[in-house]
């Protein structure tokens, strides 16, 4: 049997790197020096390659599929279509509506139709080209406004996936009292998660008819369930192991290679590798929902918000994925982080023949934050009030009521966050005559020496729930084992919470060091042999894993101390565990742990639960739906060349409450990354889709920010301990992604005086001056 190389058992031999330290990531050096094993590197002797044939049409009827030519090629081991799916023909995170392989009809461009296993990936690709699919092309439905009717032929639910209604207070009465009312429509294009590690994995058939899948994903157990259902196998015959994940951002919550690789492996009896190409990857995962938001805000003359009315449409594309939950989350926070008594929110998720959309960092709240924060600046302008002042006057605080009727609990330090941005000095202006061209809009393109440049400053505030909402009682289980090696206690942590790059494995080791005082922590492979941890999503995994690992450590510690108490003849309550020693209350060593344990290991599992939540009701959207809330804000400073429409983001200042910075360097990385992903959405990142077809599925034309687009990010990390969470921590990953985009849009509006109703802005949107330069300032 060949050894499969995976990044197992990482040892971190340092006792100092406990909770609160910027402990080094165990996967950091391997990722930098290239030795890290990503899912695309998984290898097995004798493995075949799997390749997917995808629909070229956004919508078509499948009349026939002829695989005979492809099967005749030397080196091809099998060609599978929907007829070969052994179990459920469909899968999905919430609803089983996405075909494993298309039957009857294809509903989006890039939908998988057949899979091929061959001895070489190029042979498999050529075989795919020889599969003859007889399509009858149909006119794709691509307008979400049409889908809202719920009567579009050929779409699930006639096009309407969900309508969420939130009613709080009396908007009609409040409108009559408002001194100022503003309205606006804000649109957002389709963002792609653009992770660098493409979808990939290795399926290994087992002798007992089962299969083992090494894959990059965000939730091993939910994936296991869907894979088993579609393979027609019991859960214990389908084992998933987390391989190296090269980024996910929500785009790896849905299945990709999983079932296909397993089907090919089980059919051929050989291990099968699959790796999507970059272009294929753009069709192989869900995107952020494009959005249209209509907002109406009313306020008193002195800037007190009286009402907020929002209509939010998110297009989910061809299949459900998580659309019904994304629209709910978008609606929960559509009124922003503000105390407003009268709220009407109607949110719609639609089906179309556009590419499927689902989870992406922020999960609906990115779209609604962009909309409400844009509208808040419009309101500030109408009130002739500084936009930061308007936000501070209305900022939500502890005890205030959300539109869903839930009182805000836990720290809500929004005033502190905004005050940091208010008091932070603005960056100096640039002398464009002498500055390095990289400091100017257009960068190395050398397009300006100061001509046409206007500076703008913009603010935005964001709020989002942390953890799963609406009655989902999710859990996380960890097992911690301690034994003696070379006279020293060693701890092993075992938990299935996926490491996507966010650093949860670093935290696992930090927690074990803190709780047990051990120097050496080993991390076991993440797989489905242990109970579930839930998804690395909703900014929840650090919270949930910390609860599980700390709980398991506590059980282990209690047992070691109980054994020590028996050996010493003293009550356990008088003893403390400090790495290799059991000590008395004064800190004097009493007995080495090695002596107490001998050759035995102590091992305990613990299942952590957050506080229960409840769903909101259908009529008025009221209910205590959330575990916790997190807040962040940004101040963006931009330079815009108003003749060419090019942008240099000069600075992105941000403040965020994280409860407890478990690993400050990791927290900074998350805030920087979220801010930059929001910057991309503000000024360049858009999957361009026309008539259901993606026009830029490449990193040549789907642009993400480079080093030269990323500005300095002065940052304030607040640590107001959360009362309900392990160590007082709060979720960190998503909040910086919320307010970054609207802060930049607001800065661009400040610089240009334009309304800019759509993100991302294109250069042509930002031009205020004619090309002949006659409007140059004196």
């Amino acid at each position: 049997m060949t050894v499969i190389e995976t990044p197992t058992r990482i040892t971190t031999p340092s006792v100092v790197d406990g909770v609160g330290a910027s402990a080094t990531r165990p996967d950091g050096v391997p990722k930098v020096d290239g030795s890290f094993i990503y899912s695309s590197d998984e290898y097995h002797d004798g493995s075949l390659w799997g390749v997917t044939l995808r629909s070229p049409h956004p919508r078509a009827r499948i009349l026939a599929i002829d695989t005979s030519q492809a099967e005749g090629i030397d080196g091809v081991r099998c060609v599978l279509t929907h007829r070969d799916v052994p179990g459920s023909k469909t899968y999905g995170m919430k609803v089983y509506d996405e075909p494993v392989l298309a039957f009857d009809e294809v509903r989006y461009q890039g939908e998988p139709v057949a899979v091929v296993a061959a001895s070489h990936p190029e042979i498999a690709r050529r075989a795919c080209e020889l599969i003859v699919v007889d399509y009858e092309e149909l006119v794709p439905n691509t307008d979400p406004e049409m889908s809202l009717t719920g009567r579009v032929d050929g779409l699930f639910g006639g096009g309407l996936a969900r309508h969420v209604r939130i009613r709080h207070g009396d908007v009609g009465a409040a409108r009559a009292l408002a001194d100022v009312v503003v309205e606006g429509r804000y649109e957002m294009g389709t963002q792609d998660p653009a992770f660098l590690g493409p979808e990939s994995g290795l399926a290994v058939p087992l002798g007992d008819g089962g299969v083992e899948l090494y894959v990059s994903c965000q939730n091993l157990h939910l994936d296991q369930q869907q894979v088993a259902d579609c393979l027609g196998l019991p859960l214990d015959k389908v084992r998933l192991v987390l391989s190296g994940v090269g980024g996910a951002f929500g785009g790896k919550e849905d299945l990709n290679v999983h079932i296909h690789a397993c089907m090919l492996a089980l059919r051929t009896g050989r291990p099968v590798r699959m790796v999507y190409s970059r272009e294929e990857s753009f069709f192989g995962h869900v995107h952020r929902h494009p959005a249209i938001a209509d907002i109406e805000l009313g306020a008193t003359r002195d800037g007190r918000l009286l009402f907020t009315k929002v209509r939010l449409v998110l297009d989910g594309g061809a299949y459900t994925s998580t659309s019904q939950v994304v629209i709910a989350n978008g609606c929960y926070f559509a009124a922003g982080a503000y105390d407003v008594a009268n709220v009407e929110i109607d949110g719609f998720a639609t089906y179309t023949n556009n590419p499927p959309c689902g989870a992406m960092r922020g999960f609906g709240a990115v779209q609604s934050c962009y909309a409400i924060e844009s509208a808040m600046d419009r309101l500030a302008a109408a009130l002739e009030m500084h936009p930061l002042e308007l936000r501070m006057r209305n900022a939500i605080g502890e005890g205030d009521m959300l539109p869903t009727g839930q009182p805000v609990d836990g720290p809500a330090p929004v005033q502190e966050i905004l005050a940091y941005l208010r008091d932070l000095p603005l960056p100096a202006g640039v002398d464009h005559g002498t500055a390095d061209m990289r400091a100017r809009p257009g960068g190395v393109g050398n397009v300006t020496r100061g001509e046409g440049i206007r500076r703008g400053v913009g603010y935005a505030l964001g709020m989002k729930a942390i953890g799963f909402s609406g009655g989902m009682d999710d859990t996380c289980t960890a097992r911690v084992t301690v034994w003696i090696r070379d006279g020293e206690p060693v701890a092993e942590v075992y938990c299935a919470g996926p490491e996507l790059g966010q650093g949860v494995v670093t935290l696992e080791a930090q927690i074990a060091r803190t709780e047990l005082g051990v120097r050496t922590v080993e991390l076991r492979d993440k797989d489905t042999d242990i109970a579930e941890s839930g998804a690395s999503s909703a900014s929840r995994q650090s919270w949930m894993t910390a609860g599980a690992v700390a709980g398991a450590c506590g059980l282990v510690r209690d047992e070691i101390l109980a054994r020590g108490a028996r050996a010493l003849g003293r009550p356990a309550g008088e003893l403390t565990l400090d790495g290799p020693e059991i000590r008395d209350p004064a800190g004097h060593p009493l007995v080495p742990v090695a002596e107490v344990l001998g050759p035995e290991a102590v091992s305990h599992a613990f299942t952590y639960r957050h506080r229960p939540t409840e769903p909101v009701d259908d009529e008025r959207g009221q209910g205590n739906a959330h575990v916790a809330f997190a807040y962040a804000a940004h101040r963006a400073v931009v330079d815009v060349d108003v003749e060419l429409g090019l942008v240099k983001v000069v600075e992105m200042a941000t403040a965020q409450d994280v409860g407890k910075a478990m690993n400050p360097a990791g927290v900074e990385g998350q805030i920087e990354g979220g801010t930059v992903q929001g910057l991309g959405l503000a000024v360049m990142e858009e999957l361009q889709i026309t008539d259901g077809r993606v026009r830029n599925p490449s990193f040549t034309d789907y642009l993400i920010p480079t080093m030269l687009d990323v500005p300095p990010m002065p940052m304030k990390i607040f640590e107001f301990p959360h009362p309900d969470s392990p160590y007082g921590l709060n979720g960190v990953g998503e909040p910086p992604n919320l307010s970054s985009t609207p802060a930049i849009l607001n800065a661009l509006r400040d610089a240009t005086g334009l309304e800019l109703p759509r993100a991302p802005v294109r250069p042509s949107d930002l031009i205020t001056e004619p090309p002949d330069g006659r409007a140059e300032p004196e």
């Binding site: 050398n446 300006t448 294109r762 090309p771 002949d772």
Partner: protein, 290 residues
């Protein structure tokens, strides 16, 4: 994979395998191969060919002869004085890794309208050395681009070098893209004020089926400068506006994922006007732009 070690060997293989795809930096070709758009049966690997990765001055020091294998990084490091616009164009290309591998000759062989070197080569009246077993010929840059991604190269020819007249006056290159680095041009523009002749050269990128020359703009500016090459400060601002407008008129852009035709024309008018103002400023200061 054919891997000649000498130029002579490369030409012989080229004549035997006219369908082989020459590869040197690979920064264009490998993208097509990786995306499945090209599946060349044979690659002619020029990376081992000796003596094509350097430059020399010829023609009494008036012309820079740039070897086919010379990287953009070396052009930036070694030729920013002799060929300032070409060096500036090279700075805008890709990432450091791509500039370490990519070459002007490769850019020419692909002949994309978006190739960043091309506007500069047009503005400088460069010549392409095309060689085959039949012999060496010089192709004027104005005759080189014959269609979208099509050049005047014969199937058995390889680009041996590019001849670029050394700058005698100010040169400018500017490129617009929605990202501040590592971006394919939405449009680009090059301007060369050749004070020796004297004459005006221009080049436009990403705004037509091929790289283009703005002839009317060149003529207008030449007429305006006329006897004022030594006193450019007296050139009217209106000349800049007219020049920009004529540059925009010379383009025949399309709408695509990188920008609209309307935006491209607008941006070219701005670039034309700005590049001219910088060049005239440099001319007034008696400097060759660096």
């Amino acid at each position: 994979m054919l891997r000649p070690s000498s130029w002579r060997g490369a030409m012989l293989l080229r004549s035997q395998y006219p369908d082989a795809s020459p590869i040197c930096g690979g920064t264009d070709l490998m993208v097509d191969i990786n995306f499945g758009r090209a599946r060349p049966a044979t690659l002619l690997d020029l990376t081992s060919v000796e003596d094509i990765d350097s430059w020399e001055l010829i023609d009494d020091g008036r012309t820079v002869r740039i070897g086919a294998g010379m990287s953009y990084t070396r052009i930036i490091d070694e030729l920013s004085g002799l060929c300032p616009a070409l060096a500036q164009a090279a700075r805008t290309i890709g990432s450091p890794q791509i500039r370490n591998r990519g070459t002007v000759a490769g850019n020419l062989a692909t002949a994309s309208p978006a190739g960043d070197s091309h506007p500069v080569l047009l503005a400088c009246w460069a010549q392409v050395e095309a060689e085959s077993v039949r012999g060496l010929r010089l192709i004027d840059i104005d005759d080189f681009f014959v269609g979208p991604k099509r050049s005047a190269l014969e199937p058995d020819e390889l680009i041996r070098a590019v001849r670029v007249p050394a700058a005698t006056g100010p040169q400018q290159f500017a490129k617009v893209g929605p990202r501040n680095a590592m971006v394919i041009a939405t449009v680009s523009f090059a301007l060369n004020l050749d004070t020796a002749t004297p004459r005006v050269g221009t080049g436009i990128g990403s705004a037509g089926p091929t790289p283009l020359r703005a002839r009317a703009a060149e003529q207008m500016l030449q007429d305006s400068l006329d006897d004022r090459w030594d006193a450019p400060g007296s050139v009217d601002e209106d000349v800049g506006r007219q020049f920009g407008a004529l540059v925009a008129e010379a383009a025949s852009p399309i709408d695509d994922v990188r920008g609209s035709a309307e935006y491209r024309r607008h941006a070219l008018a701005v670039l034309g006007r700005r590049c001219l103002s910088w060049a005239l400023q440099d001319l007034g200061e008696g400097e060759v732009a660096a």
